[in-house]
């Protein structure tokens, strides 16, 4: 029962890679956007907030199609990036991009909440001690918002692991390149004797998610230091 076919193993490895890259690459943007929405005041802020949440409300296939139009080999951005050697069409990088975009709203929400909850009075204290706004951000705001940032990363990772509609529309289903766990399961769903494979892959998906959660717990606890009970 637990013998994985090479195609299944490839899908698992690809999913881990795609989800990890998607999460880590979007983290700086998520933090920046979370800070912007939490702290800055500027005209059009609500519009920006709505735009960030678009992938959450649009059907995934629509997001995938939009990515195809923009980042495909014929797309505006795709053509601009091609000379730089950056390609998304039919590549795992495209799958990572799709996952990153779909998970972005969740990441930003969590990080924004965390930054809103940090005590601005502590930031004031840091400023009086001579810390530049950047140093205040990195030495006070970020560490205090850390649990929320980790939570945002876990959410984005989980979403990336489960992402399907946008991925298959954007980069289709190419074993070894863009066939993630979800695509593999979807394919097995349509094959009459694919049941065993589906359960195997689903079990792996659950295991990976649990590991990600455990990792996030450890990351938060480690940052808190030796808390005397």
């Amino acid at each position: 029962m637990f013998e994985f076919t090479p195609a299944e193993l490839a899908a698992i490895a690809l999913s881990i890679r795609v989800a990890s890259v998607a999460t880590l690459a979007s983290l700086p943007f998520g933090i920046a956007m979370g800070w912007l929405l939490a702290r800055a005041r500027f005209p059009g802020k609500s519009l920006l907030d709505a735009l960030v949440h678009l992938p959450l409300v649009l059907p995934p296939v629509v997001v995938g199609y939009a990515l195809l139009v923009a980042f495909g080999s014929q797309g505006v951005v795709g053509r601009a990036l091609a000379p730089l050697g950056i390609e998304f069409a039919f590549r795992w990088t495209g799958a990572a991009l799709a996952s990153a975009i779909m998970g972005f709203p969740l990441m930003v929400r969590a990080i924004r909440s965390a930054i809103e909850a940090t005590d601005r009075r502590l930031e004031q204290a840091a400023a009086t001690l001579g810390a530049t706004p950047w140093r205040v951000f990195t030495s006070v705001t970020l560490p205090l918002a850390w649990p929320g940032i980790v939570a945002g990363a876990v959410l984005a990772f989980a979403k990336a692991l489960g992402e399907f509609g946008a991925t298959i529309t954007f980069v289709s289903n190419i074993p070894g390149e863009t066939q993630t766990l979800s695509s593999a399961i979807y394919g097995l769903l349509q094959v009459p004797d694919g049941e065993a494979g589906i359960w195997r892959l689903a079990a792996v998906a659950v295991a990976i998610s649990l590991l990600a959660l455990l990792l996030s717990e450890w990351l938060v606890r480690r940052q808190r230091g030796d808390e005397v009970t």
Binding site: D119, R121, A125, T128, T132, P143
Partner: protein, 204 residues
């Protein structure tokens, strides 16, 4: 050492504050809510006055007429807050050294201040485990170690009970005498003020 003439926003009103004092240690007194903290915030750059100027030890920190408004991190003021505001994610030692500047930091001076305030035994502790008095001494040490040009103390004892207050006042006197720093001390307790300085400005 303090020369300021500012208009502050107080809700729907404007408040005019004028202080001209050459004494090294100055106190701002008055009932709670009279706006003393706002003046300190303005000196620190945490609040921008509607108009006016602020000069400390001959340095202009704010001048609306000339378009001068130094950001807080450039004003070289050491601020001790009423609610201590120690960083919860750093231990005592890291809090103390937060404001240290560059390689020219004076390690010996740091030991002096730690001894002065009697907080050497607290260095490895987390901030959550400090008593009110200990926390305030650490906050004081942190402000001093950032090598400020002036020390601002915003009702530092008002959150402590009488016993702790009596314990802490000698430390404040030590800081006053041994560091020779200009100090602006805010309190609603005239008794505290009397024990620290002769120069008082009352805000109504």
């Amino acid at each position: 050492m303090l020369s300021l003439d500012i208009h502050l926003r107080r809700g729907a009103f404007r408040r005019h504050v004028r202080i001209e004092d050459a004494a090294r240690v100055i106190a701002l007194g008055g009932a709670s809510g009279a706006g003393k903290t706002s003046v300190l915030h303005a000196i620190a750059g945490l609040v921008r006055p509607l108009s006016g100027y602020i000069e400390v030890e001959g340095r202009r920190l704010f001048d609306s007429a000339r378009g001068i408004d130094l950001p807080p991190h450039e004003r070289r003021i050491g601020y001790v807050f009423q609610d201590t505001r120690l960083f919860p994610h750093l231990d005592v030692r890291a809090n103390l050294h937060y404001g240290r500047r560059g390689p020219g930091f004076d390690a010996a001076g740091s030991t002096d201040i730690v001894e002065l305030l009697g907080i050497g035994h607290l260095l490895g502790r987390r901030t959550a485990n400090l008593s009110g008095g200990e926390a305030q001494r650490v906050a004081l040490g942190r402000a001093l170690l950032s090598q400020p040009a002036v020390l601002l103390l915003d009702e530092p004892l008002s959150m402590l009970d009488q016993a702790r207050r009596d314990e802490l006042i000698p430390y404040l006197q030590r800081v006053r005498d041994r560091t020779r720093l200009p100090i602006v001390y805010v309190s609603h307790s005239m008794e505290e003020i009397r024990r620290l300085t002769g120069s008082v400005h009352r805000l109504e």
